[in-house]
Subunit: 250 residues, 2 copies
Amino acid sequence: MPSLPQLTHGSFVPLYRQIQQRLLDQIRSGALKPGEPIPSAQEIAATLGVSQMTVRQAIKSLCELGVVYSRQGKGTFVSGIKLEKDFRQVLSFSEDMKARGSMPRSKVLSFEIRHPSAEVIEALRLRAGENIIHLQRIRQANSVPMGIETSSLPLRACPDLLDKFDPRQSLYETLSERYGINMFVADEVAEAGLADGEVARLLRIAEGSPVFFFTRISYLQDGQPIEHVQSTYRGDRYKIVNRLTRRNHG
Amino acid sequence: MPSLPQLTHGSFVPLYRQIQQRLLDQIRSGALKPGEPIPSAQEIAATLGVSQMTVRQAIKSLCELGVVYSRQGKGTFVSGIKLEKDFRQVLSFSEDMKARGSMPRSKVLSFEIRHPSAEVIEALRLRAGENIIHLQRIRQANSVPMGIETSSLPLRACPDLLDKFDPRQSLYETLSERYGINMFVADEVAEAGLADGEVARLLRIAEGSPVFFFTRISYLQDGQPIEHVQSTYRGDRYKIVNRLTRRNHG
DNA sequence: AAGTGGTCTAGACCACTCG
DNA sequence: GAGTGGTCTAGACCACTTG
């Protein structure tokens, strides 16, 4: 039995996170296999010299990840469900493409301050007269055009974005680093349609080819809408991959 | 101030669930508004005569729902993010349609025991020679054909389904009630395409109309694959609505 | 300094499963 | 009856925010 690293009390990483990580490592390494029980909370607590509550906190978070599941009176078992690595979490094209193993790049069609459309005003809950940052890009993976994305952001949220953002970089990274803006959730609607002449030309596909139309609104943790995106992606090279989960609460 | 119901110690509903429900009710009723802080854990604990840990457990579960968010040193605030009512959780056509306010119905094209295809064998991890239940249905909403669904389930998981299942009912309900089979997660791939002659005829749309192709594999909590579904939905009447969330762990 | 959330402890009792 | 997970307590200390 290989000796595992000791827990570090008083570290910046809380004990339950360390325990969670230990268990995760043991599962990923195959030391704990799908279907097998993990040690009981009592046992882990005794071994590591921590309270049972702390261990339970770690196990609970693993349950929420879906990598283990608990059965009262029986134990906690390793699930065979794969980790959601390549599943969509949120929405950055750059991250998405990297996760799929492609090289993301963008070609900027437009990047300027604009008056918002009625749809964007409603989506971003803009006040009268408020302007937006308008950013339209062709998204490429390995130099192949994948889709056209039109983003709108409230100007007030990132007033000097025009100066500070290099549109070839990741918009989300810039927003996070420069403004502390982090997307928390996004609601997205996907529709199936056909490419018209303009879209076909930009994406270099035949007119009438199948495409996805996306409409997405992203929100901060406090519920404030921060981004409205309308995009069109090629149906022949783009797939939507989703993990759907049963919710319990409510 | 309207007096809220007292907590019930020793009930079948744990205290933290009762507290969670109380807070949820206050938020839904508007007594606690988006952006406002909820009472501190200390205060709630004192008011209700429970331990702070118990209150924190309730608040944490509300954070996971996304209805509140906590800021260390500041407090816990009501989020303006809408509850995921009409967002896809899992996957039952019946539930989905009801949630969208439509009347679901199905027309059975085929319901029988079959030899699995290579794709299904791999998806369901079938042993050599194992058979499947094959169920093909046209899905209708308010009598309009929406899509064609082909489901495959391991025969071993539901050996007498052919006798026990009325194909006009909800498959998922039957599986849950008769076999204790409950879907936990599903991985789904959606593609955009065009209707061929056969699909067009069944869905009563023009050939070449835009459609969604779905491939879905559903899993039990232990990771065992339990259902493989391939389906084609009309692009003109069906939309994919998703809520994407940022994950933190891992 | 006071108030907040975040973590942790060392117990306790319960409900459940299994031999 | 022994072992498990699920809940709960009454404290404690820390990090952080605000006045």
